[in-house]
């Protein structure tokens, strides 16, 4: 039933796209053309990574400073990260220079295709060529089928894409490679010149494809990698100028693969680890900064005892296990907290302001975060906070009251959806702070105790009795 419906959709999409591609011939801007394109789609985990190598030529007369990339609307919704770089130099001296990528609206894009602009460093003059490397990451793009599996079954997923690269440019030659995690591939759409060898499926080479060509394909394959999705992650980074950086991370973890159905048998799971729970996962690895201390791992009902911490000079690895193995659709919540020495992360900028330099993303390896909230709690009395993040995030300010606060602490809140491990880059929060505020709380305590003692001295010298004893 489900298969039939998706087949129907496929046929419909096919007809629409072939129709549109005919229409698009005349209307699109033909200022660039792609001499050769190679696409490698990595399906080994639940995060889809696509490496695209484009050799672009300017056949026209005027110089061009922008290159356009097109994506079907279904992919744009799941697009977590898009990076582009240009290769500079020849063979041995080859290096990559990152380029700026921005979304744009193209009025003539067919069927809701979305576009992104890569701004080149130097305009491409007539007749020149350039090689671009593009990496984009898709999340939630593997659809489990069957949707529900029992404990011992392995997980099969669909991946949908086009055999031909969707592009607003004319492509002379192109090839697409798809890598699956294992050799078990249930089915894949065969179009002309399709080849499969081991865990790799090759589409192409295709020659002389017109703009916005599209040829839908479906790959149905086995993927038992942990589909670890953090539905919500709140990271709270608390700066204390007494020398500590306290990080508290609240996780809502889910297994986003095929839903578990029916029984869970512990005998099966324990006696045959491979057959009795192949699609489940149990171990998670959190990469924490070096010199981490007082690490805890707990949930709302107490400590979770299944964790190991390994530390060395470069990094700290925290291996954690949820209370129970996660099967498809199962959820778990937990909290990881740790302290870090402040001098590793807090610096003074040349203009006298202080700034915190910390990683943005989720420390868990190979996980997708649907909604990430980073809260930087600045010490009481700090002013003019501003955050510098290498990608677009939502920002706002909050006030938090913690130990003995009077005025409250300024909290810089950064929110981002669809976060992948590639977002683990550094961000900075700048603020001004007067060290005299550090003394406020100790002085408050000292004066409180002083008044308590004064009050008790006064009390001992005053007679409060209601009736005088005769």
């Amino acid at each position: 039933m489900e298969a039939l419906r998706s087949l129907g959709q496929l046929v419909l999409a096919l007809s629409i796209f072939s129709h549109l591609s005919l229409l698009a011939y005349s209307s699109s801007t033909q200022d660039l053309q792609i001499i050769s394109a190679e696409r490698r789609i990595d399906l080994t985990s639940h995060i889809v990574k696509v490496f695209l190598t484009l050799k672009v030529e300017n056949p026209g007369t005027s110089p061009v400073s922008e290159v356009l990339l097109a994506f079907p609307p279904t992919q744009v919704d799941h697009l977590a990260s898009l990076k582009a770089a240009i290769t500079v130099g020849k063979k041995k001296k080859k290096s990559y220079v990152p380029l700026e990528v921005n979304p744009t609206e193209l009025p003539d894009a067919p069927n809701g295709a979305k576009s992104f602009t890569i701004s080149l460093l130097n305009p491409l003059n007539a007749g020149e060529t350039a090689t671009l490397e593009v990496l984009y990451i898709l999340t939630h793009s593997l659809e489990p089928f069957p949707e529900e599996i029992s404990q011992s079954e392995s997980q099969l997923v669909y991946y949908r894409d086009s055999a031909i690269i969707l592009s607003p440019y004319y492509i002379k030659q192109q090839t697409t490679f798809i890598r699956t995690p294992s050799t078990r591939v249930e089915s894949f759409t065969r179009v002309e010149s399709t080849d499969r060898a081991g865990s790799e499926i090759k589409y192409g080479p295709y020659k002389d494809r017109s703009t916005y060509s599209y040829s839908p394909i479906i790959v149905h394959f086995e993927n038992n990698n942990p589909f670890a999705v953090v539905e919500e992650l709140v990271r709270e980074i608390e700066v204390s100028h007494w020398g500590n950086l306290q990080i508290t991370e609240h996780y809502k973890l889910a297994h986003a693969g095929a839903r578990h159905k029916g029984i869970f048998s512990r005998v099966e799971y324990q006696s045959r680890p491979h057959a009795g729970g192949v699609s489940s996962f149990k171990h998670l690895l959190a990469r924490l900064p070096p010199r981490v201390h007082s690490v805890y791992y707990r949930d709302e009902i107490g400590n979770i005892s299944s964790s190991h911490l390994r530390t060395d000079y470069l990094r700290s690895d925290l291996e954690i296990e949820p209370r129970y193995p996660l099967f498809g659709g199962w959820k778990a919540t937990f909290v990881i907290g740790y302290g870090l020495p402040l001098e590793d992360f807090l610096f003074e900028s040349p203009d006298g302001r202080r700034y915190l330099n910390f990683t943005f993303g989720c420390p868990l390896a190979e996980t997708v975060v649907d909604k990430l909230t980073v809260k930087v709690v600045l010490p009481e009395g700090s002013k003019d906070p501003s955050a510098v993040v290498p990608f677009s995030v939502e920002q706002h300010l909050e006030t938090k009251y913690s130990y003995l606060d009077v005025a409250g602490r300024t909290v810089v809140v950064l929110e981002k959806r669809n976060v992948v491990p590639e977002h683990n880059s550094h961000f900075q929060v700048y603020y001004t702070f007067n060290p005299i505020f550090m003394l406020a709380e100790p002085l408050m305590l000292v004066s409180t105790f002083f008044f308590v003692f004064m009050a008790s001295v006064a009390y001992l010298h005053i007679d409060f009795s209601i009736c005088k004893s005769s």
Partner: protein, 706 residues
């Protein structure tokens, strides 16, 4: 001149003793607090056992929703489908105390979680308890005895067992704040239960007396007399009316308003005869002799000496203490739980005994020491223990105690005017004391032995606090050759329930796990540890002891979706459901007579091996516990019962295993939907339909809810 010097010295000594005893009290408080932290250090900061989880949940509700919602709280997540009126049936003292502590700290912007407050409430209040003990004992026998008693109660194992960090229960706090827990702010339950009448009366009388003294102070004597006659005559009338109403109310109830638990105090055999549910709780059993030694240790031997000390001389206060110890010894003999009542009495009396003994022995030593002039001591009124410090190796605590005794006596005498002048009796007692002098060597030896006894007590208490009473019972550990092994199965199951089932799903389990399920898994339960409805518990007991199909029907009629059983056979955890099963049978059979205990016993013996009865082997509890157990080792060897199980290979038709924890300690089953059953039936030949319908009829007959 000499007299002025000595009086000067005495005041100085008084001040010094005052400060010293203040610091000793603070240290005792620190000791009482810190000796209870073993559970946090060895395990973690977590709420312990069963009842504290309910109190914790109530406190959470109070802090989240405020006091008015708390008073009106009808809890629909327990006793499904009946629910429970929490606001009216709970003793609010504990939760209000912890709630206001939390509120106070949060208003100072100290963001401690409710859980942290709850965990540390008991240790904080045990510090208060030791101070209260000091005050009480000081009234009886002076400050020396008070300090000794406070130090003893700070670490008495009986009290530690109820008040380690995490034991967030009334018992932990009740000794310190007896009134707070008993004042029925809400909850006519407390008023309507007769056993609280006495404490009420005392409470009222104290207030009336205080009020009368106050009125007496502001009115002239004549007016006062008029007022008294007026008030008394009106008051008597009102009292008579109230008493008449109360007597009528109490007499109308069958047990004369006394709950079963209290009745079993008066008649220890009451519970085992009539109410198995009370007898099934191990806390309600009479204690064994070793448990006395475990819980109050050397105090058991010091108490008689303390009683003797209270008789010489017998005052109002000391006779109160004697009455207290006599009644509490009786009550502690009825229920293990009431050892807690005995502990403070034993501590007070042992404190008196120890301090008196030290007093006598050190005095004997002092009188026999050569080179000590006699007359100045007579001038000083009483023996000055400070002069003995440099010459003797007397323990330090003792000296300041007697210094306090010195200081305390005059002040009390000032208050009680009827006592004789100070000088006379002291000289008299001086002469008496000279007669009571013991041999020097004997005294030194006795002091040494007493110190040894005290040391033994301290060692025992620390051991009890660290080893015996620190386990939170939701996390178990075992020491094996390859290190510490943690069994965290209960929380694994509760976490699974809370994250992977629907919010409104009902979970059936034996009542022991009710509080924990509602607090940790946040799921609706059928019965819980507040065993107020015997029929409801009996229904669950009946379901557990019935065959699968009948059990399915009972559970289905109660809307149950999951059944939770605790099984220790794989790892050897003895307090599991199979060992509690006979109580389920008894309690179930008490209400639904088709469950008969002899059906589950082979020749009067409870067994689960191949000699077990078919009723036992077909009961739901057996099946849910041992389902696929044989696949673990091929034989099905139960490590608690130390035997191979009787029925090894069987299938479940109406239940399916949805979760089993890592060490198999908690197993969760889901009721299969009825649709499957019908489909299975229709698949079978229609010729069998008559037999199935008859089977169904017999099934419905067994179901008590139809």
């Amino acid at each position: 001149m000499a007299a002025s010097q000595t009086s000067n010295g005495t005041t100085l000594r008084h001040a010094f003793g005052n400060v010293l005893s203040f610091f000793i009290l603070i240290l005792i408080g620190v000791l009482a607090f810190s000796i209870r932290l073993f559970s946090v250090i060895k395990y973690e900061s977590v709420i312990h056992e069963f009842d504290p989880y309910f109190n914790y949940r109530v406190t959470q509700f109070l802090t989240k929703n405020g006091i008015y919602d708390f008073w009106n709280w009808f809890d629909d997540r327990t006793w499904y489908p009946l629910g429970r009126v929490i606001g009216g049936t709970v003793y609010p003292g504990l939760t209000l105390t912890a709630g206001s502590l939390w509120w106070f700290l949060n208003s100072l912007n100290i963001p401690l979680s409710v859980e942290t407050i709850c965990v540390f409430t008991a240790p904080i209040f045990s510090a208060f308890t030791s101070w209260a003990t000091y005050l009480l004992t000081r009234e009886v026998k002076g400050a020396g005895a008070g300090l000794t008693a406070a130090a003893l109660i700070a670490m008495v194992p009986s009290y530690i067992s109820r008040s380690v960090a995490g034991s967030y229960d009334n018992e932990a706090v009740v000794l310190g704040t007896l009134l707070a827990a008993l004042v029925p702010v809400v909850g006519f339950n407390a008023v309507m239960t007769s056993e609280h009448f006495a404490s009420f009366l005392v409470f009222i009388i104290i207030h009336v007396v205080a009020f009368v003294y106050y009125i007496k102070g502001i009115l002239s004597p004549k007016m006062f007399k008029v007022a008294v006659t007026l008030v008394v005559s009106i008051g008597l009338l009102v009292c008579l009316a109230v008493v008449a109403v109360l007597v009528a109310l109490v007499a109308s109830s069958p047990t004369k308003g006394w709950s079963g638990r209290s009745l079993s105090l008066l008649d220890p055999t009451y519970a085992s005869k009539y109410i198995p549910i009370i007898a099934s709780v191990s806390e309600h059993q009479p204690p064994t002799w070793p448990s006395y030694f475990m819980d109050i240790n050397v105090l058991a031997f010091l108490v008689p000496a303390g009683i003797i000390a209270c008789f010489s001389p017998l005052s109002d206060a000391s006779s109160f203490v004697i009455l207290y110890i006599v009644t509490s010894v009786y009550f502690s003999g009825v229920m293990v739980r009431l050892m807690l009542v005995l502990a403070p009495a034993a501590c007070i009396l042992s404190g008196i005994a120890l301090s008196e003994a030290f007093d006598i022995f050190t005095r004997s030593i002092k009188f026999q020491l050569p080179g000590l002039p006699g007359p100045p001591q007579v001038d000083a009124g009483e023996t000055s223990s400070e002069s003995t410090i440099p010459q003797n190796e007397v323990p330090k605590t003792k000296t300041d105690k007697s210094a306090d005794t010195l200081k305390e006596r005059p002040s009390r005498k000032n208050r009680k005017k009827e006592k004789e002048p100070v000088e006379k009796p002291s000289i008299k007692s001086q002469i008496e004391k000279r007669l009571l002098v013991l041999p020097f060597e004997g005294s030194v030896l006795a002091i040494f032995l007493l110190v040894l006894l005290g040391a033994f007590y301290v060692v025992h208490c620390v051991w009890a606090a660290a080893e015996a009473y620190s386990a939170p019972s939701i996390v178990l550990t075992s020491q094996s050759h390859d290190g510490l092994h943690v069994f965290d199965d209960f929380r694994e199951a509760y976490a699974w329930l809370s994250h992977n089932t629907e919010v409104d799903d009902k979970v059936a389990s034996w009542w022991d796990y009710g509080y924990q399920t509602t607090a940790m898994a946040n799921r609706t339960v059928i019965v819980d540890n507040n065993t107020w409805n015997n029929t409801h518990i009996a229904t669950v007991g009946t379901a557990m002891s019935s065959p699968e199909k009948a059990a399915w029907e009972i559970f289905n009629s109660l809307d149950v979706k999951y059944v939770l059983v605790v099984f220790g056979g794989l790892v050897g955890y003895p307090s599991d459901d199979i060992n509690k099963f006979l109580w389920m049978v008894r309690i179930g059979g008490g209400v639904f007579p088709h469950i008969k205990e002899p059906d589950y016993l082979r020749d009067g013996q409870y067994r689960i091996d191949n000699q077990a009865t078919p009723t036992m082997l077909n009961s739901l509890m057996y099946k849910l516990c041992y389902y696929r157990f044989v696949d673990t080792d091929g034989k099905g060897f139960d490590r608690v019962r130390r035997t191979e199980i009787g029925k090894k290979y069987f299938k479940l038709t109406h239940f399916e295993e949805v979760f089993t924890t890592h060490h198999w300690m908690v197993r969760l089953y889901k009721l299969k939907p009825p649709k499957n059953r019908i489909r299975g039936k229709t698949k079978k030949s229609k010729a069998k339909s008559s037999s199935t319908s008859s089977a169904k009829k017999s099934g419905t007959k067994r179901n008590p809810w139809h």
